[in-house]
Amino acid sequence: MQRRDFLKALGTGAMLATGLSVRSVFANAAPHVVIVGGGVGGATAAKYLKFADPNIRVTVIEKNPVYIRPYGSSEVLNDHIGMQDLEVRYDRLRERYGIEFLFDTVTGVDPHARTVRTAGGVQLNYDRMIVSPGIQLLYERIEGYSASVAESRIPSAWIAGNQTRLLRDQLHAMRPGGTFVIVAPPNPYRCPPGPYERGALMAEWFKVHNPTAKVIILDSKDSFVPGPSMLLGWNRLYGYNVPERFREGMPTDGEWPMKIHEEPGMLDWVAGRDGGRVLSVDAANLSVETEAGRIEADVLNIVPPMVAGKVAFELDLVDETGYCPIDRRTHESTRHPGIHVIGDACVADAMPKSGFSANTQAKVAARAVVDLLAGRDTQAPLWENTCYALAGSEYGLYVADIFRLVDGRIARTEGPRFLPLDASRAQIRIGALYQQNWMRTFTDDCFA
């Protein structure tokens, strides 16, 4: 108890040091907010709760003491960064803001009594809870695929960790002239540009280290984000022939035209309409059966369908879509009052499942939680998402959107979203520079 008071005092001191002079409305009875999940959403929510009112007690329950960030983790595959560069620690959230961390696993919640229990035998009372559980991968949805196959032979590497390292090692050991096959997931999924950026980064790496290698992206979808701007990048960098239906607006002359290559390059994308949907996997032979026939791989990377993280199911926050329905204004669960859901696991209409989305959802939810605890009206929410993506290490792309609440739904604000197809070389290069800097500034906004 004394120690807690000391920590609380320390937390308040830290707040003053950061120049915040928010007057607390909870001077006598400080409420307790428990956050389940210490990823992008949970960490950002903890920090912005403290900004909104420094007297609120905030406890984050997270199973891993070190966070392995998924955003940017494909850059491990081409050795642009190492596994250790994905590691994020919670020290600064604890020290600067007095946020408490419990490294443990939630085993149950009583939403009426507002208590949460952990595997380690801790029971906590909460006034409001924020759940940010991320995703879980449904390996078994693809015939022949499973978690154990993913851990040993055909990694998904979609939740960064051992599978990321395994895929990196397989790619680096691939035989000269081998084929790297990526199976992209159906909508909705975490990180919409991710599979296409991954294919591009490996094509770039192979050009130097394995120039006769091939990259094939198999897809059940007929389009993806950031769409034509990525296809144009592939055309310029890897000799990909852009399908006619995507060529509108692409430059045909000038400093960097789109070309039609007699001999297509090393990277190919097979859309759903061309038979790209995968029907089954043969793990022993590293091949996949698609609607267009059998495809042999030397390295196979499957991103399976996904749903909300396991804890969201355990807490009964999920509906038949596999994700968590919420009141969009506050992110409060429509299934269990007092529990707010943010990030990849929540139903957020037009917003993509991305780290940037989780970060702005966390800020909206934190503000709503504090207003509700204080008995104030909740504010009009505003969200943003920017997915930066690379077509090459110096070829930056993006999709950027502002989102607003319209008739109870999250709607995109009208306007252009992608890098224009006539962007200059300088703009494209600056885009890549922004992507690299964003990795740092974004991580700091969430975790520091």
Binding site: P186, A350, T360, E384, A411, T413, R417, L419, Y434
Partner: protein
């Protein structure tokens, strides 16, 4: 199995239709968020409270109100070349630029 496939196809066609006709909104037609609510969405690139130690993005903390509004207008009408700031700037109204500008002008440059 076949029935499930049909259902799946219907669901995906429905999802496609929903995404094609997903409503979009103009900045001036929605309930206006506070400067802080809007300004917090800038933090992922421009730093918490617009305080930035890195070099690639412009720090916003302490920026003069008029400078912020002028920059956002120029990003919106294209007179100032940008990468993605045009996409961001078209998402807000002039009144919202002003509210965000006041939020950032009130922030200390350093912690």
């Amino acid at each position: 199995m076949r029935r499930e496939d049909t259902v799946k196809k219907c669901v995906s066609v429905l999802a496609l239709l929903v995404s094609l006709f997903a409503p979009t909104v103009h900045a001036q037609d929605a309930e206006r968020p506070t400067g802080e609510m809007m300004g917090n969405t800038c933090a992922a690139c421009h730093g918490t409270y617009g305080r930035l130690g890195s070099a690639a993005f412009v720090p916003l903390a302490g920026m003069e109100v008029e400078e912020f509004v002028r920059a956002m207008r120029a990003f919106r009408d294209g007179s100032r070349p940008s990468t993605l700031m045009h996409s961001v700037a078209v998402g807000f109204s002039d009144e919202e630029y002003q509210a965000m500008a006041e939020f950032f002008a009130a922030q200390r440059i350093e912690e």
